[in-house]
Symmetry: C2
Subunit: 498 residues, 2 copies
């Protein structure tokens, strides 16, 4: 598969300055949507297998010092642009995987480049502060004009971190501290000598005999606490010590949803019943329930707003915190800035964690009650990175400028409709299509999933999977209708070639 693919596309871009434009007959270019990126190609270019000879050589050199067994291909980020990722062999792929759902506004986005070149950025890179002790004078302003500008409704505080895993673990720590303060009789009650002494030996009562309740097929990270709540795949967990924390079944909805209403309602109620049972009876009582709005690594598993509304009511009833893990769902991809906005809660989650498309991490929370009663209980040297917080600020500005959340809701509907039509033609390859009304957060099950993903590169598409059999779409917020056309056309070719 070495021939260049510069296929005609139904709704191609006519933006000027396209690199590949010369190769596309003028008759095949149609005006529909102007590309956000003037230099973006009109279509993928495939020159070699991926990785190609140059890429393979470089991977083998890198492997001497860095484990490369998970490497898909080396990318050329100088040549990547907008929704397209380049490799060292001259291939240019439409990227709907986007660094595992973590690129929000396109490669080499000009507004981000401007932020990254600013004197304030240089300063943040070379004078990295210990944010808990010596934040910069402008840290408040960086938070208020960035991370906090998009704070979920009802949550006005933030604790910054570096990645999704530590953001989740810090939220867990906040939950444990909060719960033990409640049990102790309030924040003003001092630790007992026994608690102080036993904590140093990792024993009760100082080390809390509490848990975090998560759901089967959930993914919340891979450090020791977060991994204890992760239930995605054995390869994530084997051989790593874990806490004996409880898991409830996540509802396994059947598709199409409108044909399985009652069945799905029952599955959701059974899951809620199990949550309540575990809250009441698990030998290490849960301090919090951790949940993804859409289980993203575990196979793109959805539940209804009613499920989450009841989960909120249930946790409130039992005085257990509810944490929404928006590491993968956050920052616009579902057609809302935060996916949990789809739940229409009156009573927000107690904490919301973020990372990935935010390019920095942390957790939002509402009240000072979730600040530990004493300083230094939640603390580490860096507590995040102002440089990355500034990138998030620039991302937010770009999302606002281009109205990318509403845009993604619209494009997602368009894309869902096209895949739905394709699935009707090839039902054997597109099963359980899901994500309707959830922006571009769309997935389907494919019996030949791994071949599908591999074959996609031959047609110039970089795409990922989740769970055991799902193909998951995780494009950037800058995906436009003409990209959807290219993608769906390629999908048709892929399944025909399987």
């Amino acid at each position: 598969m070495a021939a260049a693919i510069r296929s005609a596309v139904g709704r191609g871009s006519v933006a000027t300055g396209l690199r590949a434009a010369a190769a596309v007959p003028a008759s095949m270019r149609f005006a529909s949507s102007k590309s956000f990126f003037p230099n973006e190609p009109e279509a993928p270019t495939v020159k070699t297998a991926v990785p190609g000879p140059s890429g393979k050589k470089a991977i083998s050199e890198l492997d001497q010092v860095f484990d490369t067994r998970s490497v898909n291909f080396l990318a050329d980020y100088n040549k990547s642009v907008g929704n397209y990722i380049a490799d060292p062999d001259g291939n240019m792929m439409l990227d709907v995987y986007a660094q595992i759902a973590s690129i929000p506004v396109g490669y080499n986005n000009e507004h981000l480049a401007k932020a990254a070149s600013s004197p304030q950025m240089v300063n943040a890179l070379i004078n990295r502060p210990a944010l808990g002790n010596f934040p910069s004078s402008d840290w408040g302003e960086i938070l208020k004009t960035g991370i906090l500008k998009v704070a979920p409704k009802g949550l006005s505080n933030v604790f910054t971190a570096l990645a999704g895993s530590d953001a989740n673990e810090l939220a867990y720590k906040a939950a444990f501290i909060f719960r033990r303060q409640l049990e102790r009789g309030g924040p003003d009650v001092e630790f007992t000598p026994e608690e102080i002494e036993s904590s140093m030996n990792n024993q009760a009562p100082g080390a809390a005999q509490l848990s975090i309740l998560s759901f089967k097929t959930a993914f919340h990270g891979r450090l020791f606490g977060s991994l204890s709540t992760t239930r995605s795949k054995p390869i994530h967990k084997l051989d790593i010590p874990a806490f004996d924390w409880p898991q409830a079944a996540f509802p396994q909805l059947k598709y199409p949803l409108e044909e399985h209403v009652e069945e799905n309602r029952k599955a959701e109620q059974a899951s809620l019943d199990e949550v309540e049972h575990l809250i009441q009876h698990w030998h290490l009582p849960p301090a919090a329930v951790m949940v993804e709005p859409i289980q993203s690594e575990g196979g793109d598993n959805h539940a209804s707003p009613e499920f989450f509304q009841k989960l909120r009511a249930l946790t409130r009833k039992h005085n257990v915190l509810l944490i929404a893990d928006e590491v993968q769902t956050g920052v616009g991809a579902t057609g809302k800035f935060w996916a949990h906005e789809h739940w229409n809660l009156q009573d927000p989650p107690d904490m919301v964690t973020f990372s990935k498309k935010a390019q920095t991490a942390g957790y939002y929370y509402a009240s000072h009650a979730l600040r530990p009663n004493k300083a230094y209980r939640q603390f580490n040297t860096w507590m995040g990175d102002p440089a990355r917080a500034m990138i998030f600020r620039a991302i937010i500005e770009e999302v606002e400028r281009l109205d990318l959340v509403n845009h993604t809701a619209r494009v997602g509907d368009y894309l869902y409709g096209k895949i739905e039509a394709l699935a009707k033609q090839h039902p054997e390859h597109f099963k359980n299509l899901r994500g309707k009304g959830q922006g571009t957060f769309i997935a389907f099950d494919s019996p030949k999933r791994d071949q599908f993903l591999a074959k996609a590169k031959e047609f110039g598409i970089n795409i990922g999977g989740s769970g055991a059999s799902a193909v998951r779409l995780r494009p950037m917020l800058t995906l436009q209708e003409h990209h959807c056309d290219i993608l769906v056309e390629a999908m048709e070719k892929i399944v025909k070639a399987l």
Copy 2:
């Protein structure tokens, strides 16, 4: 305390362009060592209490959205230069705390600024890769010219991370995987169905019933796995669930060392005996022993090279991995690039973790045997940050250019001698002076430690503590003799004022 202190100093800098020069009588400026930073002031400036009115106001605004109870003061990183940290009230402090030991080559270092302004940096900031899947074409080169250029002897591979805590946890995971592979009969032996199933329930045999052995008063981070090995202070551990992992006593050496040779030898042997006992008998067998070359948060506790040589022999004998936590000791401050070089081992530690002065994090390891037998067992989305890896590369270049490791060894000797002399005059304030021959990694116990640290700001010194009663010096590698003079002169004033 609002008067400006621009005291005469014994060996002041005569570098041109000094901001404070006008205030210092010419007769008080002496040539001795040329400052590395032409714009560095000659001496601290104290205009207000720290934090001053501007700082306090800004802290109170920040506190609405960000817990500020651990904030010492807000810094003005635009005005900070070299070894001096500025605040918004016009104070300029000699900084021998350096963002909890994490600033290596001075504020606003020009070489770092150049690296931070490069097109390669902008690219890394705006196109953040998932390094495990899609590293950039130049990732190998960034590693080889940076992080790996200073790899500890015998360790040629690196796994990159984001902070010291996750670097340590990733090293623990590598140790658990390695140990279970051994127990299973080698990397080619497949998991059993029972292991696979039980791992998903956080139960044995899939979840390993193993441990990491650490030392009392150790600090290895504050996520759930790393915190289970941290034994520094109850406030770090209270209310957080912990693994039932073992701890051995760390030798508590008596000072001066030359007067307690036999006693200290016995303390070290007792510690080693306890390690061996725990390796043989703890109910969750240790897969690794984790140790800091100098216990840094726990109170600056040292042990002899012989202790570490025997610890290496002991772990080797029992086929338990030895991990050196160089998060705080690494990158030159002890007068060696890595503090464990002081041990003179023939057989290196199996892994060495780093962060802080490296401005990025990860662990080094030697052999492919420490790579898990399958891909994706050690994996996460970002697996570090190329932007921060490039900053480390620039730091390494600067360390080489100015020969800062040897420089720090020399300056450390100079500083130690001066403090030793001061301690003889004020033995009640300087107890157990330690760190001789360990660069500027110097500490002493002060019965009025917390007052000492607070009072220091009144004399224009930013300095930190460790453990229950230690004042710890953690200057940058750019500390020079004339800074030592200012520091020791201020120390004398501080103790006289206590």
